[in-house]
Symmetry: C4
Subunit: 253 residues, 4 copies
């Protein structure tokens, strides 16, 4: 395998699909969001992407099987006439710039030419400081002014972020734009955490509204609660002896 | 040389061969196992793989000659009607993800299309902790449920390992699976040691049973004994002054 | 996108253009110089270069939009019969040697074959020591003795520098020379600073004379002044308690 | 420039040439040796190799000119009927394994197919320990037993070295062997020094005998003397206060 390839099941027909992408990244926000959608709506896997630009590893499955690291496409059929949804998630991202360009260009080409897709959401995390974020905002950057206008009133903040979006979350909407497809990158505000369910929930609420999906966030609420509890315990532990209840804790990595 | 190449001797005819692969890796388990098979059964070299993805080095031979780093194929003829064995070993593995994909895809293509091979064993080490392992188990991950079932009663543990198999040990069985060839990765449990003969012996016993080979492990037994002696001396040395005989030693890297 | 590409607007006609290149580098001298030219002469963007050898990132725009990292070409029309100017600048340079060769070879091919260009200026910084430079000189290396002779009396020093020119500033004039196009690398002397407006001004004065451009350096003068003020404050601060006014400060990274 | 290229002057006719290669490496032995041959025999440059696998840099010349990093071929004509000599030297070696394979395969292909070459010498340094070597030996590894036999009595030691030969010194003779051309790697014994004229002289004496060249090593003798003087001064300096004259000094990096 010398090039990135996508293997697709036969017979899948989708109606002008919308792509929602969540791959490993900051605060695991993207992955939490799309895994939530995938499970909640029983999305069906229909295509797999393999690449020599992924790490050279094979995952051990708990049933004793194996799985070459990959990215997978799932679909969620919507009612007739509506845009179907396609979810893209996976174990890894490409490890080099050249690999990132090849893989992400391949995804957009597949989405446009094979799936006849119409819009791309990429989901990520955005971390301004290493402080715990209690009420995460959702930041966004989009491919056009038209898209920015469409998200007015969607509880999404444009132009508040600085710097660069690395990896698939950025390249996919940049390549979409080059291919005349609109898209947006939604970034849940996150801070201290490697896995941030509160940031994921904030993004899901935006998606829920824009995609017309009823999303049950109960399991995220439980994760948020247990994360908060864990942080509280940390705060009271001997590692932070001088912090007292009622004081606003500051976490420093 | 811009691509990986395999040079094969003319006139080699093999009967539906089974591949056994042991390359440099954790605890040198794979290399110990296949070097043992190679010597014990006087395997004959019949093909060599060179790759620009290997380190750019040439080995100095003790007779004053040279040897470009490579991987080599050897065969062990079995009695008529049985699967012949092919052994793959070598000095190195490819150094980049792209190189690993190219080299391992090439090996499976060669094994399937040229040698008409039927099954792939890859041998590695698996290290759960940095503690010395006195009775190493053999862990495994396989390409299908059928294979897992075939190894019932073979003193092999499925589903007890976590994480990823890196390099050829993983990619070869993943690419075999993609090419409709079954395979298994056998991992000898290892801990502290760079070269672990006990883990190698455990894997050899499994192979011996499954391949119907009588394997003399006397030389490994000697290595195990001398390794144990060396560890005992270390334990009593001034580097670990507080550990006493009878106490369970703990080794920390 | 697997190769470097250049997208050009239709209908742009240039007269035997001269290229002036300033990309990120030492003291940001190149970028300061060409951004100054670009703004002062209201240069018009007419072509964009994208490359898989650039970092895999997308810039967040302050209006909520996005921009794939790139290099851009701008033109400045000169009076009829004169050489037009083409400016090349951008966010980034290629990250690997192979990438640098591909991108810079592509630029020279485009400049020669599509734009029918005639001469290449690359602008960089040159740092001999980590000391603050109050009166920066302009060093240069050129593609031929003819060019060196043409710069006699231009307040440019040849043969005073040692070592290598890394990246586009060097490769572009080397590839130009291979394509029978002359060129020069102008290096503003710089020391301590990440962004050195005095070095940039020194180069601009040379360019102004050679290109027959009236360049207003007022904004650079302001930057130089505020930089000097900042350095003075640093000098008097507690970080350098023993240095006194009137003494020549020495800064050490 | 996406591939390694060799540009050759027209009209050069060589008689079954022998290649002598000295590129940057351990103790600069290879480079010292071939630069010595080049100057002493007024070798003429006739071909240049450029590669995107070299570092992306351009050398500043002391006359204000530039030079893209490269490897160059020079010839030394011998009396009619004898093998002509071709010298290969340069600023750099390729920076990645893939680059090393591409560049060195290209060199052997050019030497065999274009120059009709017959034998390859590569020159390097071999360092067993970080101690100063007063009477350097010459170690060697060769492509065949025939070559080893030809060097009997040439004051060259086979089979005394261990490990790997990295880079061009190793790959060139390995690729020569694959192309049915014989060759040898001569390694001057070196220790502490970045530039070791004594190791270079030892190799030159071997070459002188084997190639039938009268080589004047006066300038190397001067370098050896001044290096010895410098080492003596170091030894007596305050950095090594306890070492006394007459004692054997030990240098530790």
């Amino acid at each position: 395998m010398e090039k990135t390839i996508i293997r697709m099941k036969k017979g899948v027909e989708l109606n002008k699909p919308i792509l929602v992408v969540g791959l490993p990244g900051i605060g695991s926000v993207g992955k939490l969001v799309v895994e939530h959608l995938r499970k909640e709506f029983k999305a069906e896997r229909f295509a797999t992407l393999y690449s020599p630009h992924f790490p050279h590893q094979v995952m051990m499955r708990s049933d004793g099987g194996i799985k070459l690291v990959s990215n997978s496409f799932y679909y969620i059929k919507q009612k007739s006439g509506s845009h179907d949804l396609v979810i893209l998630t996976g174990d890894v991202q490409a490890v080099t710039p050249e690999g990132q360009y090849e893989v992400n260009a391949k995804i957009i080409k597949f989405f446009k030419e094979v799936l006849k897709g119409t819009f791309v959401y990429t989901i990520g995390g955005y971390s301004e400081a290493d402080a715990f974020v209690s009420k995460p905002r959702v930041f966004a950057n989009a491919t056009s002014k038209k898209v920015i206008a469409q998200f007015a009133g969607a509880d999404v903040q444009f132009g508040k972020t600085k710097g660069a979006i690395w990896g698939s979350a950025g390249l996919l909407i940049a390549f979409a734009k080059m291919s005349k497809i609109d898209g947006i990158c939604l970034m849940g505000e996150t801070g201290l955490l490697d896995v941030d369910p509160a940031a994921a929930k904030a993004v899901l609420l935006v998606l829920s509204k824009k995609l017309g999906l009823k999303i049950n966030t109960e399991n995220l609420d439980k994760m948020i609660e247990s994360t908060a509890k864990m942080l509280k315990e940390l705060e009271q532990s001997t590692m932070f002896p001088e912090s007292k209840e009622g004081q606003k804790p500051t976490y420093i990595r």
